[in-house]
């Protein structure tokens, strides 16, 4: 992600640094609609390839600014003025958030979503050794979580949640993000995120190779 050195995330989403959280989401939706391909506004200015590259940055910017914890870390580093460009990259910020989150505050107010327990299916989930999009979708539907609900929990665009489940690289951003998404979805579903992500990515890459 070299080009992050030119723009900061606020510039990418064209937001003032004090924008409230709901404006971040609105700006992200606007930016997505603009650069998602067939928008006439980019005609004769950006090629499809360039629009896709812009989308990667937009996605990255929203992953950070759309998340309160990550945004806080980013803001602090940005404002300190001492942060090097390396400190402002996506991966460095995510890492910092992990380090900060070690004494993870118990999420007590986590709203419990009701679903009918099905022992046979629970066993099947536990036994699953190789995860793919279809099975993730099954588990999500079994746990009664809509793609919108998933977006509320994980801040992953519903469009991408569906893309993950379809395992469709065309409708997903760069591969580095895909793994992050799968981890977040797996956590939201109460699954072993490492196992799920490892096996999912394996079959995802196989599919990429075939295309």
């Amino acid at each position: 992600m070299q080009s992050t050195s030119r723009h900061n995330y606020y510039e990418i989403l064209e937001l003032p640094a004090n924008a409230p959280q709901y404006e971040v989401s609105a700006a992200y939706e606007r930016a997505r609609a603009t650069y998602a391909g067939d928008n006439p506004a980019i005609y004769t200015i950006f090629s499809e390839q360039e629009a896709r590259e812009l989308l990667v940055f937009i996605e990255e910017a929203y992953q950070v600014l759309g998340n309160k914890i990550l945004r806080n870390i980013y803001d602090q580093r940005l404002l300190s003025g001492r942060a090097s460009l390396n400190d402002l990259t996506y991966s460095s910020i995510v890492e910092a958030s992990r380090a900060a989150a070690i004494p993870e505050p118990a999420k007590t107010e986590k709203p419990e979503i009701k679903f009918k327990r099905d022992e046979a299916f629970e066993a099947e989930i536990l036994a699953c050794e190789s995860w793919d999009g279809d099975f993730l979708k099954k588990v999500r539907e079994y746990k009664n979580i809509s793609t919108e609900k998933m977006h509320d929990i994980t801040k992953i665009n519903p469009y991408y949640v569906k893309g993950i489940e379809k395992m469709d690289p065309e409708s997903l951003p760069a591969i580095v993000f895909v793994r992050g998404y799968v981890v977040q979805i797996a956590r939201a579903l109460g699954l072993d995120d490492k196992k799920v992500a490892d096996t999912y990515m394996k079959s995802f890459k196989e599919r990429l190779g075939k295309k």
């Binding site: 064209e14 606007r30 603009t34 506004a41 980019i42 004769t44 200015i45 950006f46």
Partner: protein
Amino acid sequence: MDREFEDNDEIISLASKLAKKNSDKETKMWVVASGKGGVGKTFITSSLAITLTKLGHSVVIVDLDLSGANVHTALGVPPSHMTIRHYFEGTKTLQELVIPTQLPHLSYVQGFWDSWSPTEFTNEQVHRLIPEIKNLRADYVLIDLGAGALECHLDLFKHADEKILVSSPEPTSIEKTYRFIESFVCHTIKENATPDAYGSMITTLRSHRQRTLQKPFSFRSYLKEQTGIHYDFFETLSATPVRLLINSSRSQQNENLGLSMRSVCNKYYDLGIDFIGAIDYDNAVWQAVRNREAVLISQPFTPLAGQFLATCKHLIAPEELRTVV
């Protein structure tokens, strides 16, 4: 939105008081331009003018469309033989050519309507015209230009107090709108740059277009790095940005189009423009033109009128707004 008009009389009486108070204020020049023809410049100009008069301001429309005058038709008045040609030939001052209309506070200057001799203005003529425009006895002078980025258009656009660029949602119009913005920026920089600096900027722009630049292009940082170019240009431009208006919008998507185009200008040129609104497509418009009357007069209480009101309010100084409404 119709509610805005309910207290029309009161607004007008209040506003005319205000207008009197402001009569010694400088005349504002608004220039309406577009990259492509047929996107509704004349309709926009006349509608903005009518809306401004409803807000209690006096307005003169100057029809400077070289390809033929139209404003009188949009206003529903017969063409006059007193055209702007008399001004350019030196027989009349611009003020002498101002023709009143049936509407209070609204008058206009008839554009070229005789096609016997070719029309074109020189730079010099434009530069002499601008102070004359500023001296017209009106709060606002609205200039209706022809289509395209001709040099005289760009010159007038540059000197405008409000630069209004009209585009329709069609790709053909969007394409030409971007070309217009490009030529406008280049034209403005050219005057403040040495020939060498300007030449190398054009070369850089060309490589930007052909994607052969090493790093992403930004006008702002480029101009700062160069010598020979006065780069206070962007500060001036952010004080009076180009205002984009989308005409004959047919859906919410078209409304978002304005925001998208603003974002594209930002990302591609690092240039801030302002999106001032989308005017809905309305069948009443062409029906009114067929009857040679202005739609805002024959149908004053429509969503369309509300959109123009909102646009004008956006453009007029906010402190004035608070007193009027």
